[in-house]
């Protein structure tokens, strides 16, 4: 039981990164980005390329890929979403769906369908308090927690984080208070891109690297963000942990193949009982 809970915690913390990206993007850009799964996939493949083809160790590969991918996200926004900025959330969502198709299949085109993995030395799992942990899980735990910590400081203590929250709260007021919204949007994509890249790497370490890897996380990630309240960074974190733990625990009673049903039920429950999620504001669409 404890083992399952632990596994769930690790899954949760991994999901927290893309969930935070989703909620940041939703807050600042006001739409649900369905390409995030494919984005994580592409970033993972980028690290894979650096790692296995150029022989870079995982850490520099991840850092480099994260930065490059952050920039790529800015470019993708420029080409795909900016022309559609004033069309409303639905159109942007559909566009993101299209972008997701393109990204996932670019990966498929480049690397085919077979599963791959990073070049990391094998390490033996170890036991701690009766729980079996492997090295990948520990890395994921540390990296994800670190990332969350950095994001927390960024969002609450630093001007750029405050500016992002301000733009999410009221874009025109932000402008009038001297904030360059276009710059903030670029920063948001950059940060989201880095989060997605790291998330993709952690998933790639946990499972295999293959074209659908990111998309298969779409539902748990969105479920986490919605549970926490779309737009609330703290909510994304808490929501992710909850979804991770509950999903894993549920596999004790339901067949693992249907694991995805749990986040789905969570979404349904939230919609019925508390649409704004745990920490979100019940907002009025203007």
């Amino acid at each position: 039981m404890l083992q399952t809970a632990f596994n769930g915690l690790v899954t949760g913390i991994i999901i927290a990164l893309p969930a935070l990206a989703v909620t940041l993007l939703f807050g600042v850009l006001k739409f649900a980005n369905f390409a995030i799964g494919a984005m994580m996939t592409v970033a993972a493949y980028m690290v894979y390329a650096l790692n296995t083809e150029l022989g870079w160790p995982m850490l520099p590969a991840t850092v480099a890929a994260a930065v490059v991918f952050g920039v790529l996200c800015i470019l993708m926004d420029l080409v795909t979403f900016r022309p559609l900025r004033d069309r409303g959330g639905l159109t942007l969502m559909v566009a993101s769906l299209g972008l997701g198709f393109v990204l996932e299949n670019l990966a498929r085109l480049a690397y085919g369908n077979s599963a791959r993995s990073f070049a990391m030395e094998l390490a033996r799992p170890f036991r701690y308090m009766d729980i079996r942990m492997n090295r990948e899980q520990m890395i994921a735990f540390v990296v994800a927690t670190l990332a969350m910590g950095i994001m927390y400081i960024l969002l609450t203590r630093m001007p750029i984080g405050r500016a992002m929250r301000a733009v999410a709260d009221n874009p025109s007021l932000a402008q009038v208070r001297g904030i360059d919204s276009a710059a903030i949007i670029r920063w948001t994509w950059f940060i989201a891109g880095m989060l997605l890249a790291v998330g993709g790497v952690l998933i790639g370490m946990d499972r295999a690297i293959e074209p659908p890897m990111g998309s298969s996380y779409l539902i748990p990630v969105f479920s986490a963000a919605i549970l926490g309240g779309l737009g609330s960074p703290l909510g994304a974190f808490v929501g992710a942990l909850l979804i991770g733990i509950v999903s894993e625990m549920a596999t004790l009673v339901i067949p693992p193949n249907y694991r995805i049903g749990i986040p789905l039920c969570v979404i349904a429950a939230i919609l019925i009982f508390r649409p704004q999620g745990l920490f979100g504001q019940a907002h009025i669409r203007r």
Partner: protein, 314 residues
Amino acid sequence: MIEFIVLMGIVVCFSGILALGLNFQWGLGGMVNFGLAGFYALGAYSCALLMLKGGFNTFFGALGAMVIVGAVCGLVAFVTLRVTEEDYFAIVTLGVGEMLRLIALNEDWLTKGALGLTGIPRPLSAIVPPTYYPYFLLALSIALVVACIWVLNRLARAPFGRVVRAVREDDVVAATLGKNVLWARVRIFAIGGALIGLAGSLHAFYYQYIDPTQFSTIVVAYAFMAVIAGGRGSNLGTIAGAAVVMLLLEGSRFVKELVNLEADQLAAIRIIIIGVGLILLLIYRPNGFLREYRLQAPLKEARTTPQSTKEVTT
């Protein structure tokens, strides 16, 4: 060559009906169905199973599929009734579609899992001689498309269709109008579902063999592209869009002649083309190539809030 065109025609027809279903749900009801592939699979499997295991004939198989998918869609819309946020609805449909696909894949006892179902009968195959059958199926498919369009146009003109159309543009109106509108949305989603069920049945009839891999993202991509190319809301446009997308897809067949690619890669390229096409259409041709037949002024000009005009410096 003629045979090829006939077969393509049939595929365009049931893909078109699928797109019509999406168009009805999205174009009229403003409800994005990202789980389209799953519901499509539900339609195909329901029809096939009703015939293979239930012993029903093709007519009742298709009808049953329409009822089943319609009912499931209605249920999904009902559960998400409270929230009119498009984002949430999309993810719920994605999830449900995914669940349906998982069920098809895992419940071997019912669906034979990855092996799929074979030997699906075709309508009136006993009566029509084999040499003429493709033409018959094409004629039948076209007749069904026409019937669907006729029914959909009647529904769109009916009172609740008008209400929902008005609401699609302004959520706040929805809140003030209250329950009637929400029920209308459930019905719209259900009717769209019935169309998807019909499309799935035709799919089953055409291929006579179904397995979970047939219902993948390319289906969704195709349908969305068809709807957008034809102009969201226009039924005829959607069919035209479906034809155009099919041409695009089949055109990529010739790419294979020129460049040596594996099957996986060709499939990937097709989806990339559709994805890019989808985005380009949204940006440059949001109303598709055919205008929506409504007389009212195009939506974009009517707004008075700064957020939606290009003059605002955001």
